[in-house]
């Protein structure tokens, strides 16, 4: 090991002696006769070790040591003071000036060599520490850059939704994705709105990666008109497949259907959400299910709870970061405090602000590890512009076809065929601008045929909250028990020079009903049913029915493009 060692000593005798000893140990020697020269020599040659006499003219060893240490920066340049062992004071001064060790006169070559070796080891240690510190800093920066990139990719997927809708207010930290929090909102072609609040276990990139397929599936399926149940099943299946056993996603999915006046909610693992009526009455939306990604598709329970919903209601969802957050005094914000804010609220429009204010007051600062969303149903949700799928032909081609199918008990149980039908109809270019209306009509026709026709349910049950729940329970029960029964759907497309039309025909195996009466009723038993029929009439260009009500047909017409 050959070091460059600087000897700063004003006594020529001592200098000569020391140089010889050091050179004989195999090192390259630099000498200085005073402090000033020592500093200059250090700056020029950058030796690895300095032997410093304390008392020197022009600048003493203490000041020279301070300057050299400062020049060295992150690097460790050991300074060994040369001293006559007299008083402790002198030794203290050496150490305070930045000295790392001292050696006494008369110089003992053996001790000198040992100290040089020891200092050299320390020097190498310091260099390693600095190198690793820099490596860690670089890696950390890399991680941050990767996270930024991941967030940018995720945002592209996420912007397909309607979190920007005027009736949604939310609070979410910019780092939410990497805290594991996910907030998605999208509008279905029928005008329903789905809102999903998710909380992944863990944080950082693993949580963010899970969010990606979730968002993609959620937005994709919603846009295609799939029902909330189907979407939820798919989300669970996906997460179960891709996440490791110990990771899962607590979530609440809201299926907001103002047209039919119903809120369906599924909560797996999140704290209570709230449905708040204009008069302040609160319905807690409680977690009844295991989180997403835990159960295999066969065991997964996609049962939604139903609540009646009206204009003027509000919905509130929160991640557990709200209630579980603690302040500087280690107190929990807690459920009681939240409920107190909800109780105290008088002006519904201020609820969101009041919650934020309470959080700020409690914590003394803005927390960035919680998510909060409020959906305000005080105005009709705007109609959706359906995005065109890729590869769509630019011009409409004339079409002339009809298709018929019959869904029997097993298939009626299996699920909703309408999204598929909608996709087929969307191939007819001229129908696209009216896709929302077409789908809404299909939904009305289908649920009318299924619930009132095949299952024989009485919509009068949906009068109040309790009846509501009973209605949907009965729906599940009867559907599960169904043996015979069918719905027949017929689609017919015809075009000519003047334009074209779509005819949808539907028949069911039910008892039938008096359509005329239903349309005419302003209130009473048929009123709710009648509302659906009115809607069909309003949305379509032609509405016809069999007298016994077991068959209905609807038309949509368009004229040739100018």
């Amino acid at each position: 090991m050959r070091l460059t060692i600087l000897i700063a000593e004003d006594s020529p005798v001592d200098r000569m002696l020391l140089s010889t000893i050091i050179a004989r140990q195999g090192h390259h020697v630099l000498t200085a006769g005073d402090g000033l020269e020592a500093v200059a020599l250090y700056e020029r040659e950058r030796p690895q070790l300095v032997l410093m006499d304390a008392l020197m003219p022009l600048m003493d060893g203490f000041e020279a040591a301070r300057r050299i240490k400062s020049l060295a920066g992150d690097e460790l340049v050991p300074i060994i003071f040369l001293t006559s062992l007299s008083e402790n004071q002198a030794l203290v001064r050496c150490l305070e000036a930045g000295g790392d060790d001292f050696i006494v006169k008369p110089y003992n070559p053996v001790i000198l060599e040992a100290k040089i070796k020891a200092m050299h080891r320390l020097r190498r240690l310091q260099a390693t520490v600095v190198e690793q510190r820099d490596l860690i800093a670089r890696r950390n920066q890399q991680l941050l850059d990767e996270q930024r990139a991941a967030k940018a990719i995720f945002d592209k997927v996420a912007h397909a939704g309607c979190l920007g809708a005027p009736n949604i207010r939310y609070r979410q930290s910019p780092r939410a994705l990497f805290n594991g929090d996910l907030l998605l909102a999208a509008q279905s072609p029928t005008g329903q709105m789905f809102v999903l609040l998710g909380d992944f276990t863990g944080h950082g990139l693993p949580a963010a990666i899970g969010a990606m397929p979730l968002a993609e599936t959620f937005y994709g399926m919603t846009a295609k008109g799939y029902a909330a149940k189907d979407i939820l099943r798919e989300l669970n299946a996906k997460l179960k497949q891709i996440l490791p056993v110990e990771m899962f996603c607590c979530a609440t999915l809201l299926d907001i259907n103002l047209t039919q006046g119903v809120l369906n909610v599924w909560n797996g693992g999140l704290p209570d959400g709230y449905l708040i009526r204009p008069d302040g009455e609160r319905v807690a939306l409680v977690s009844r299910h295991l989180p997403l990604g835990v159960l295999a598709p066969g065991a997964f329970d996609a049962h939604f709870e139903s609540h009646p919903l009206k204009l003027g209601d509000r919905l509130l969802l929160l991640s557990d970061g709200v209630v579980e957050s603690s302040n500087a005094r280690d107190e929990l914000f807690g459920e009681q405090r939240l409920l107190a804010v909800l109780d105290a609220n008088h002006d519904a429009k201020r609820l969101f602000d009041e919650i934020e204010e309470a959080l700020l007051a409690f914590h003394g600062q803005l927390r960035d590890d919680l998510s909060l969303v409020e959906v305000d149903l005080s105005e009709k949700m705007a109609a959706l512009q359906l995005p065109l799928s890729f590869g769509a032909p630019k011009e409409g081609r004339p079409a002339d076809w009809s298709g018929r199918f019959e869904l029997r008990a097993a298939s009626l149980r299996a699920g909703n065929p309408l999204p598929l039908l909608l996709q087929v109809l969307l191939q007819v270019h001229q129908l696209r601008p009216r896709a929302g209306a077409v789908y809404a009509v299909l939904v009305e026709l289908y649920s009318n045929a299924l619930e009132h026709g095949v299952l024989g349910l009485d919509s009068a049950l949906k009068r109040d909250a309790a009846g509501f729940a009973r209605y949907y329970e009965a729906r599940s029960e009867r559907l599960a028990a169904l043996v015979d029964g069918y719905i027949r759907l017929e689609l017919d497309i015809q075009c000519d020079a003047a334009g074209g039309r779509l005819r949808i025909g539907i028949q069911d195996s039910g008892a039938g009903f008096d359509v005329e009466r239903a349309l005419g009723e302003a209130r009473g038993v048929e009123c709710l049913r009648g509302r659906g029929l009115q809607l069909i009439r309003q949305l379509s260009d032609g509405f016809a029915w069999q007298a016994d009500g077991r068959g209905l047909s609807v038309e949509f017409r368009w004229s040739a493009q100018a």
Partner: protein, 116 residues
């Protein structure tokens, strides 16, 4: 037992370390010491206590390195006097230092002879 004029163990080490340059070291010491003595006298005459203390301290260092133990001890005593502002006792100490240095000088020149 009184302090020896020259510590033989130190000399043996110096010889081993310096090898061929041992005589040069002795010469350097002798020349350098003359200068230091001059500085001591000058500092005392000027009444500069702090300068005197430093000069004594430095001289002590090089004496000690060359094994001139008794001389180093006297310098140490002078250093103490100067620090304690007992300048009136300084002349006597300086004289003792000069006498000791004369002895050490003889011994080192004899030592030098042995090495040609």
């Amino acid at each position: 037992m009184s302090i020896p004029h020259l510590d033989n163990a130190v000399l043996v080490t110096l010889q081993a370390v310096m090898e061929g340059e041992y005589p040069l070291l002795l010469d350097t010491f002798l020349a350098d010491s003359e200068e230091r003595l001059r500085l001591l006298r000058q500092a005392f005459q000027a009444g500069e206590g702090e300068t005197l203390r430093r000069a004594a301290h430095s001289f002590k260092g090089s004496c000690s390195n060359l094994g001139a133990a008794a001389l180093a001890d006297l310098c140490c005593q002078l250093e103490t006097l100067a620090r304690e502002q007992r300048l009136v006792e300084a002349p006597a100490m300086i004289e003792r230092i000069e006498r000791e240095f004369a002895i050490v000088g003889i011994l080192f020149r004899a030592e030098r002879q042995r090495y040609g």
